[in-house]
Symmetry: C2
Subunit: 300 residues, 2 copies
């Protein structure tokens, strides 16, 4: 019987411990010694906090192909670093201008803007360094497939492109389809990459890979929908960041259009859809099933 609370806590502990080992001056040295202030800012932007859902998805997708959790960790760390870099940059004054993240000052508040820009750049760069390392997977062909997957999920046709569309959408004129497409890129693309990277670690054939991709896309929609509902219903304390912000900035979310109750029904439907794509995988996919359901029930 799969235990979501235990598995996700175990994953979060492993991510925290390994990130802390990897984000040190010796581990980040290159042709020269790593800059201390930059390492400190990269740590601030990625340690102590976060639910580490993306590494969990990598682990859970890999588990379908009998890849043990330890062998899925490093690829998960790379996805998490990309997620953290995106938060550091999104929080900047020129972007969402947030002072608080996970209940602590954002990187540009704790350090300064220049350092936060460089810390994001450093986390993004190091994600690819991690994937290139043999500890990620012994086969270089698998590692290069992971690099391609992560780059596609986070670039101009993925997360960064979604963030660009989100900024453009603030000026209004977005249809419901535009919102869905923007969110699929901004949040969904990295969730999709995480699931696919887990499958690639396990040597997934094209058919299971495409079922898992469909799962990931539905799970990503569920995640975003839950986030939008929480932005309306949760308190700032529970979320560890400012809430009510999307509505306050006039952001065009689906929830704003249809109301909280209809959004909750849509969330249940999309979780059911996500779980449906896992039909052929049996109990090894219980982790991914539990995570999709967790997306619908989370309170922060």
């Amino acid at each position: 019987m799969y235990d979501f609370a235990a598995d996700s806590a175990d994953c979060a502990r492993a991510v925290e411990a390994r990130l802390s080992d990897l984000l040190t001056e010796p581990a980040l040295s290159g042709p020269g010694p790593a800059a201390g202030r930059l390492v400190a800012a990269m740590r601030h932007g990625s340690l102590e906090g976060g639910k580490r859902l993306r590494p969990l998805l990598v682990r859970q997708a890999a588990a379908i192909f009998s890849v043990p959790p330890a062998a899925a960790l490093q690829a998960g760390l790379a996805v998490e670093m990309v997620h953290c870099y995106s938060l550091v940059h999104d929080d900047l004054p020129a972007m969402d201008d947030d002072d608080l993240r996970r209940g602590r000052p954002t990187v540009h508040k704790a350090f300064d803007e220049a350092t936060a820009i460089l810390a994001g750049d450093g986390l993004l760069t190091h994600a690819f360094a991690l994937l290139a390392h043999p500890a990620t997977h012994p086969d270089p062909a698998v590692r290069i497939a992971l690099v391609a997957e992560l780059a596609a999920g986070s670039g101009a046709g993925g997360m960064a492109g979604g963030q660009m569309r989100d900024i453009e959408g603030e000026t209004g004129g977005f249809s419901e389809d535009d919102i869905a497409s923007m969110q699929a890129m901004k949040t969904g693309a990295l969730i999709r990459a995480a699931v696919r990277m887990g499958a690639l670690l396990g040597g997934a054939e094209p058919r299971p890979l495409s079922a898992l991709t469909a799962y990931a896309e539905a799970a990503g929609r569920a995640y975003q929908l839950a986030d939008d509902i929480l932005d309306v219903t949760a308190t700032s304390d529970a979320m560890g960041k400012a809430t009510g912000k999307d509505a306050g900035m006039g952001k065009q979310t689906f929830v704003a259009r249809v109301g909280v109750e209809a959004a909750r029904q849509a969330l249940t439907a999309v979780v059911t859809e996500a779980v449906g794509y896992l039909r052929t995988f049996g109990p090894r996919a219980d982790g991914l099933r539990a995570t999709a359901r967790y997306f619908a029930s989370r309170e922060n």
Copy 2:
């Protein structure tokens, strides 16, 4: 007889043409369509300008191992995208706050700050996507070695770390050794990566790889020294950017300490040192020899 002017012009043309093909909405699509404004900003930050010295170094190092120029192009484009991303971010108001780059408005001036941050992120991300593609090299083990090399050269112990130290150094207290070490990272690390990536494309053994690394480190010092001398002696028109800026901001350059004439002598010495490391390679290294000499003679 190697013709530097012809080879560098040919390389610059090839880089410009291929970058223009690669930085389009269809080519940058991922799980979703690439965001048009982001693609436009990525193009603004990387097309029409630049001497394309890093792709030239990749090509010239690869030539030592008989790799034809066309087969060295894609790896060169990846290094160039990383170079361009660093310029886009360095020009931001929170960093060097430059309005002009290569005689045109910088990305945050032509677009806005948020778009410039995302454009830099997009270029960095896409550099790794390019390296992951089979067009870079048929062997995935070589491609993953290139990813590792580029990430090391541009991360916290490379270019980004150097930029962090440079910002810290503006507050003073840097010794000559500190300046040299900062510059080796900020400018030198990516030049080093370019040369090593060319060698890796050619399957270089450890001994030639380390001779080429020594060349690249000396050539990087020459490049930076020439840049610092030009900052003092050249006009803003010739450089296509603001000059006299380092001295104006109290940046601690070697030139400021020893004077222009002594810096010119040091430049000649370091070029001689760089060329010395190429002794064993014969005429196939004429390209790298010419580039090191060009560094000492360039006027913009």
